[in-house]
């Protein structure tokens, strides 16, 4: 692999992208899909998250262009040059252009957009051309099957030289970056999956899964309806990893990758901040679950099979953490996906199970089906 001179790279972990001009040779939905899959090829290897926006200036502006399109690198009609992208940086940096004169496809009849986009995004993230002919970053076109694509070793080495490896946790795979419009509603009644995050917000319980969340009154099962995260929290744009509320302050916290947002009710307060303000070590890239314990005024943060304790009064991470979750919470098995305190119990969501944990008895007192919370 090779890097650009000066080794430019993005200084942030959440990058926005926007498709500003489509091609007529594919449907918009197919373009969206190919682009999303191409970005995911990279985000599966490094701690980068891609968030799509539909207006304004994104870090990575994507467009299909013809001939001279104002960046000193004119396209040349069918074949020849297929696309180009700019190394990370302000303005044109990261921008990715495809030659609209090509026949773009999802398959092999023409140029496969996923294949070319995945290559170009390598440039947009800081990789130059590789001399390894098996690498995605080799300059000439070679069809790659989008389904089941795995980033070749040379490219993994290259991108991790810039951003380090992605820390993955068993049971919580890389979040898919589906487009924000018309998100599919996860069928929790018929799946073994759990929630991404659960929190109280005022008098309501919120359950997050992918781009959807459900609201319900604590003691009422009626009127539970899914809605999109973007409709209520546009800044979050897609899934959240964890959330908790400190009711006494009227403040809630939503976590996504290495960032978090503060809300009062449904109103987001200010720009995102980084989770390192809480005192997490740098290798922690995301929080799996968070729960605020009212009596002790401490928030527990679950990361992998460990948890941290944060003192909300002192606003400081407690010493002697992280601790092993299963060792400290007897009866709770598996990775914690979400957690919430309710009526003095901590409810731990782990896959399809919810453990009701009694903090006085220091043991699990019952196990529920996670989906039962939203009426299944």
């Amino acid at each position: 692999y090779r890097l650009f001179p000066g080794e430019p790279k993005w200084k942030k972990n959440i990058l926005t992208y926007r498709i500003s001009k489509y091609t007529s040779s594919m449907t918009s939905a197919d373009v969206d899909k190919a682009i999303e899959m191409a970005l995911r090829a990279w985000s599966s290897a490094v701690p980068l998250n891609f968030v799509r926006i539909n207006s304004g200036e994104a870090d990575i502006m994507i467009s299909f262009e013809t001939g001279d399109h104002g960046d000193s690198y004119p396209f040349d009609g069918p074949r020849g040059t297929l696309a180009h992208a700019f190394a990370p940086g302000e303005g044109l940096g990261g921008d990715t252009h495809f030659d609209n004169a090509e026949k773009w496809t999802m398959g092999k009849n023409g140029f496969n957009l996923f294949t070319v986009a995945a290559h170009e995004f390598g440039h947009a993230l800081g990789l130059a051309h590789s001399t390894d002919s098996s690498a995605l970053m080799y300059p000439t076109y070679k069809y790659q099957n989008p389904y089941g694509f795995r980033l070749p070793k040379d490219d993994v080495k290259g991108i991790q030289a810039l951003y380090g490896p992605r820390k993955t946790f068993p049971g919580k795979p890389t979040v898919p970056h589906t487009p924000p419009h018309s998100p599919s509603i996860p069928d929790l009644c018929d799946s073994s999956s759990s929630f991404d995050a659960v929190t109280m917000l005022g008098k309501e319980l919120l359950f997050f899964k992918d781009r959807i969340f459900w609201r319900r009154q604590v003691h009422l099962m009626a009127g539970i309806r899914p809605s999109t995260i973007t409709s209520s929290f546009p800044q979050l744009m897609s899934n959240v990893d964890a959330a908790y509320e400190v009711a006494e302050r009227g403040t809630a916290y939503f976590f996504k990758g290495p960032h978090y947002w503060i809300t009062r009710g449904f109103q987001i307060q200010g720009p995102p901040r980084t989770i390192y303000e809480f005192g997490f070590p740098r290798y922690v890239q995301r929080i799996d679950a968070a729960v605020y314990l009212r009596d002790t005024q401490k928030t527990l943060f679950f990361v992998g099979d460990e948890y941290y304790s944060y003192d909300e009064r002192k606003r400081k991470m407690e010493k002697d953490y992280p601790k092993n979750t299963e060792e400290e919470f007897s009866g709770v098995n598996g990775q914690i996906d979400a957690a919430v305190e309710l009526n003095g119990y901590i409810y731990f969501f782990s896959g399809p199970k919810t453990y009701k944990y009694d903090t006085e008895k220091e043991d699990v007192v019952s196990v529920l089906k996670s989906s039962s919370w939203i009426g299944c």
Binding site: R2, F4, P5, S72, Y73, F75, R79, G80, T81, L82, A83, H84, A85, D99, F111, V116, H119, E120, H123, A128, H129, T131, S133, P139, T140, Y141
Partner: protein, 81 residues
Amino acid sequence: FAATPRTSRNNYHLLQAYLVKYYTKKGGHQIGEVVARGSNSMVKKIKELQAFFGLRVTGKLDQSTMDVIKRPRCGVPDVAN
């Protein structure tokens, strides 16, 4: 590389355009620097191209070099700006 004069000329122009596009640094020269143009610089670039693609480095326009030049590719230069 056996070819008619006309094919040779076309190939030469193709190669020249390819080298300008992918093997020339844009704006990399300071004011006052004299840049050598002509056959020597072209041979150097052909060698660079051949080395990059793992071809036999001859500095000459041969069939394998032409094959590479005709492949569809990414527009980002192989010599990075």
